[in-house]
């Protein structure tokens, strides 16, 4: 077997895994040294380099058919690594600021990232499970980083309990599918799929596991508490990278293992879940005063928009979801980053929206950046959030799901209210009492500025990723894809 070739195919994941080990060694030699940070950054830059290089290659298998690489998976890896890199940049300063700086955090992030890439690139239910659990266990630990506060411990415990619960469903689903088809290979499952109850039940349980991870309604209940209790910059990581990885895996499973057959209606399933998720997420976000909770519900809603693309079930829809994840990653890390910055200032609880009154003009860069991110999240052109929404809704309309798109547009129109509300406080209200805002470090500020520029840039020029993606997704190579649209 060609191990070198396999390693090369999975190089970004290998790099992050090795870097994680190195970080542990450094950490045991010298506690909380800044070397861990730089090793992490370097390894991520290298991983990013190799992920970008594999963009545009066709889908192919590695490790005896256990993993796939190239195609949509390569794009997924880019999103994952970009998200990790930006989160690491802002976490360094933030974690020091709140006095919870531990070298192990970087090892956890790197292992979680490896898990995500394994999840996104899995071609077998076994690797899928390994990837998902590697990712999840690291995330459980990170959720409890602030263990001396009750909210942190609660977040971790709650996340762990419910996560274990959903894993139970996932694993049961896998077992049933294996029972029905006699294989764990994803393409082979697609070929052996049938509509007998065993297979259907297995597929449904498998989906529940995924839907839990992307916090779709009604499997979303952990989200607000976990997001609130986790250190803010790591919340950004939870909300973006893990979601992107899960969506990529979901697309790969849906498009290849779960064909549409007579008497089986995937579009309906995803339509209903998408509608529930968009409507519920947005309506509850309307009444949130705590910014992190607001963003948690908003992230539920955004998962709903992405599900619209899955409901369309066409290659166009899948590529729209991938682009949506990219867009969402950039703008959401930005939004969390700025909020993490405000939150660190002393004197008031700045994660309450009322306390942001009048701060917009104080640090203009942060204020403008937050406005850009929120406008983008609200889907106002010409920002990347608009482009992303446009693609998913257009995909739904082209798949003749006009009602779904209409509900989506309505829900996103409602979301303008709560995003705008933050800006109203930032700019249109007088401050309660004079507060001094500290100066963010150059790295922090630079990261935010770059994210803001990317938000603008990919809003005006969404051409490259989107048009390239269409072809990428159609390049299943010799692996064969089953389209998810009912073939008459």
């Amino acid at each position: 077997m060609d191990y070198l070739g396999d390693i090369q195919a999975f190089l970004p994941g290998v790099i992050t895994a090795l870097a994680g080990l190195i970080v542990i060694v450094i950490e045991s030699l010298k506690k909380d040294s800044s070397a861990t940070f730089w090793v992490t950054v370097l390894s991520l830059v290298a991983a990013l380099f190799f992920s970008i290089q594999s963009l545009g290659t066709g889908l192919d298998t590695a490790f005896s058919g256990m993993l796939v690489h190239g195609g949509a998976v390569a794009f997924g890896n880019v999103i994952i690594v970009v998200a990790t890199l930006f989160c690491v940049f802002i976490s360094e300063d933030y974690l020091k600021g709140i006095n919870h700086y531990y070298g192990e955090t970087y090892a956890l992030i790197l292992f979680a990232t490896t898990g995500m890439m394994c999840l996104a690139g899995s071609n077998d239910l076994i690797t899928l499970f390994i990837g998902l659990e590697t990712m999840s266990i690291c995330l459980y630990v990170m959720a409890g980083l602030i263990k001396d506060e009750k909210s942190g411990a609660e977040a971790a415990l709650k996340y762990f309990l419910l996560g274990a619960f959903s894993t139970g469903f996932l694993l049961y689903g896998m077992a049933l599918i294996y029972g029905a088809t006699g294989t764990t290979n994803i393409s082979a499952i697609g070929a052996a799929a049938s509509t007998d109850l065993l297979f259907l039940a297995g597929a449904a349980l498998l989906l529940v596991g995924f839907l839990f991870k992307v916090s779709a309604v009604p499997f979303h209940m952990w989200t607000p508490d976990v997001y609130q209790g986790t250190p803010t910059t790591l919340t950004a990581y939870f909300a973006t990278a893990s979601k992107a990885a899960t969506f990529v895996a979901l697309i790969m499973v849906l498009s290849r293992a779960l064909p549409v057959m007579e008497g089986l209606n995937w579009q309906m399933v995803f339509s209903v879940i998408a509608i529930l998720t968009m409507v519920f997420g947005n309506i509850i976000a309307l009444v949130q005063d705590n910014l992190k909770r607001m963003l948690a519900y908003s992230s539920i809603a955004h998962a709903g928009y992405a599900l619209v693309g899955l409901a369309a079930g066409t290659p166009e829809g899948y590529s729209a979801v991938l682009f949506y994840m990219f867009a969402y990653t950039i703008m959401n890390i930005g939004a969390f980053g700025v909020i993490a910055y405000y939150e660190r200032n002393k004197g008031m609880d700045f994660s309450e929206v009322q306390n942001l009154a009048g701060l917009g003009f104080k640090k203009p860069v942060m204020g403008i950046a937050l406005s850009i991110f929120l406008f983008s999240l609200a889907g106002i052109p010409p920002l990347v959030g608009f482009a992303g929404k446009y693609y998913v809704f257009a995909a739904a309309i082209n798949a003749e799901m006009v009602t779904l798109a209409v509900i989506g547009v309505l829900a996103s129109a409602a979301s303008v209210y709560y995003y705008l509300r933050v800006m109203v406080y930032l700019y249109f209200r007088e401050e309660h009492k004079p507060v001094e805002l500290f100066n963010p470090t150059l790295l922090y500020k630079g990261t935010i500025i770059i994210l803001a520029i990317l938000t603008l840039y990919y809003g005006i020029e969404p051409i490259l990723p989107a048009s390239g993606l269409m072809e990428l997704l159609n390049s299943y190579g010799n692996l064969g894809a089953v389209t998810n649209v009912l073939i008459p």
Partner: protein, 673 residues
């Protein structure tokens, strides 16, 4: 062609550059903010040069010129879907560009005087430039998406400028209200856009209007109605018009530019642009006309009861916009655009004139305070004014000219455009195009014409004639008229320019029949009609000359009647008695007008409150009780490992598990359904 592309890019780029320069330098360099002269010059230049270029383009065109499309670059490309940043110059868009940049420049100039003492001077001009940029994208864009970008952009600018004095709660609420009502319309527009794209696979105007046969009948109706809903939001028509009067909370130049002359007419522009599609569906046209006529009369009746000068002008704007939609619905797209242009002239002039009055009333209040007298009054309330013509001759004369113009007295601008609107309505009622309904709408239009002349002269006479009434209302303010003064030249020059345009602007559209009657030959003296008939799909005017003369005579008589009645009731300080007399005559009806048909309350009760209630009471409680309640209940015990069992025993995890299981059942059910 290349130099033309460069020039066109300048039209678009300069306002953006003005916004960026003033905005960015102002944001970061505090000393820059006080250099008001410089800021004003930058902002004015950024609008004036585009105006000159637009004039140049205009001079090089004739009525038969083909539309020229300038493609700058490809914006979005995905599979078969491609949208360009491309601008289109044709007879319709160049006309709107001239209005936007021309009137826009005058209002920029005026603002230099009006905003001179404001701290946010730099911000104000940056926003104004940004607005011009967005508006130009709206009128020049060659596809629906670019138009939509401008459409959203002007909405954002309008939001920023209404809430410009945001420290006042009412003003920032007004801004929010405007934005939200507009979003309702925008969403309809967005869906219409999707449907267009689904049918023809492109959003370019040429592709859409060249492929009209590809649309099914239902789609024509649906798209037409959805776009019209979009237009009712932006152009303040029933049922979405309630934001516009509140929007007058913004600085007066903003009211003149955005909420009278340009932004609010974008709905009319949109429908004119899509006119070949609209004429295919008489049902949609009738809806447009009915909504327009109803809005016209509803707003006019409210205007009679208002005492705030800007409020009267605001309802008057809504009412005039209603006229424009009436014209659109009757197939008179040229007539509607004609009224857009003349209305831009005289309504901008009226708003700027009211600004001049408010400016001086503020000054009076200020000086009284200086004297140590504690008098607080509303500087926009016309009951405090009167007799201002002595002190502000230029403002008075220009205001009067514009009032005559809007009242429809010949030969000023408003007479010709309003006459054409009404003639088109009657034409639709009599001709083969429409139904008898249009005759009723013509009647509504005539009544509104009477009301227009009446309430506008009520406003002018109460403000400028009679005696200065502040001293009567507040003892301490006796003798305050010595502080009244005319506004500076930067404010009066735009007033006179606009008044001039309001005087002669009507000759753009002299009806053909006037000449035809005398020469007995077919005449083409309606310049605007000649100019636009390539672009818009006007319905033929088939009325006989005698009928046209009759219609014209009717509207003159009605307008003069309105003026005479207003003179008898308001010329000599009898405003209060006369208002009381009207109130007595109309009883409950008058109260209804005064309460603005209770529309705000209806919306509040029917829509806002139930949503807040559901969100607040049901879902938030669910969230608080179920999710948060659980968190709080277990506080303190989490540090113990044993709490894990407590979790299980509190039943919360089982409730989550229940949700999971229900989810699985739902998914299974949906799959096999």
């Amino acid at each position: 062609m290349e130099s033309a592309t460069a020039l066109l890019s300048l039209i678009i780029a300069l306002p953006l550059a003005g916004f960026l320069i003033n905005g960015i330098i102002g944001l970061f360099v505090e000393s820059f903010r006080t250099k008001k002269q410089l800021i004003g010059i930058i902002a004015n230049t950024a609008v004036f040069i585009p105006f000159v270029i637009a004039v140049y383009f205009f001079m090089n065109m004739n009525a038969g010129s083909e539309a020229v499309v300038f493609k700058l670059f490809t914006w979005i490309e995905a599979g078969s879907f491609s949208v360009d940043i491309a601008y289109r110059i044709d007879q319709l868009s160049i006309m709107m560009t001239l209005v936007v940049t021309g009137v826009g420049f005058l209002i920029h100039l005026y603002s230099m005087g009006y905003m001179a003492d404001d701290e946010g001077y730099w911000k104000f001009f940056a926003y104004l430039n940004l607005f011009i940029f967005a508006m130009l994208n709206l009128v020049l864009g060659n596809n629906l998406l670019l138009l939509f970008l401008g459409w959203e952009g002007v909405g954002v600018c309008s939001y920023l400028l209404i809430g410009f004095w945001y420290t006042d709660m009412a003003k920032s609420d007004a801004a929010k209200k405007a934005f939200i009502y507009n979003r309702v319309g925008d969403f309809a527009f967005l869906i219409a856009m999707f449907m267009v794209f689904q049918t023809v696979g492109s959003l370019n105007f040429d592709a859409i209007l060249g492929n009209l046969e590809a649309f099914s009948e239902e789609y024509i109706v649906a798209i037409g109605l959805l776009m019209f809903v979009g237009a009712t939001g932006k152009s303040a028509q029933i049922p979405l018009f309630v934001w516009l009067p509140d929007a007058m909370a913004g600085p007066t130049p903003v009211s003149a530019l955005i909420h009278a002359a340009t932004m609010v007419t974008s709905g009319i522009y949109l429908i004119s642009r899509m006119s070949p599609m609209y004429v295919l569906s008489p049902e949609v046209m009738l809806v447009v006309a009915v909504i327009g006529a109803l809005t016209a009369i509803v707003a006019a009746t409210i205007a009679i009861t208002q005492n705030d000068i800007k409020s009267v002008l605001a309802y008057s704007t809504v009412s005039q916009l209603g006229y424009m939609f009436l014209a659109l619905g009757a197939g008179g797209f040229t007539a509607a655009m004609f009224h857009v242009v003349t209305h831009a002239f005289f309504k901008a002039c009226l708003f700027l004139g009211s600004g001049s009055v408010i400016h001086t009333m503020h000054h009076v209040e200020h000086e009284l305070e200086h004297e140590g007298k504690d008098v607080h009054f509303d500087p926009q309330d016309m009951r405090n004014m009167g007799g201002l013509r002595k002190y502000m001759p230029s403002t008075y004369k220009t205001f009067l000219i514009s009032t005559i113009a809007i009242a429809g007295i010949p030969p000023l601008a408003g007479f010709f455009s309003k006459d054409e609107v009404l003639a088109m309505a009657a034409n639709a009622g009599a001709g083969e195009f429409g139904s008898y309904m249009y005759m009723a709408l013509w009647g509504v239009g005539i009544i509104t014409a009477f009301l227009t002349a009446f309430y506008m002269f009520r406003l002018t006479l109460t403000t400028f004639h009679g005696e200065f009434k502040l001293g009567k209302r507040f003892k301490e303010a006796i003798g305050a008229e010595k502080y009244l003064h005319e506004s500076p030249a930067t404010m009066t020059i735009p007033l006179w320019t606009l008044a001039g345009a309001a005087t002669v602007g009507g000759f753009l559209g002299v009806p053909n029949f006037i000449v035809e009657t005398f020469t007995h030959e077919e005449a083409h003296v309606n310049l605007l009609h000649n100019w636009l008939h390539h672009v818009t799909a006007d319905v033929e005017l088939t009325l006989s000359h005698a009928v046209e003369w009759g219609l014209m005579a009717t509207s003159i008589v009605i307008a003069v009647l309105g003026v005479v009645v207003a003179f008898r009731m308001y010329n000599n300080n009898q405003q209060q008695e006369s208002d009381a007399a009207i109130a007595k005559r109309f009883g409950g009806l008058y109260d209804l007008w005064k309460d603005k048909y209770n529309l705000d309350e209806v919306y509040e009760g029917l829509i806002v409150r139930p949503i807040v209630r559901v969100s607040d009471k049901v879902l938030a409680v669910f969230d608080m009780k179920v999710v948060d309640g659980f968190v709080n209940a277990t506080a303190g015990t989490v540090k113990l490992f044993g709490s894990l069992f407590r979790y299980v025993q509190t039943g919360v995890v089982s409730s989550y598990a229940l949700a999971f299981v229900i989810g699985v059942i739902v998914i299974l059910y949906l799959m096999v359904m």
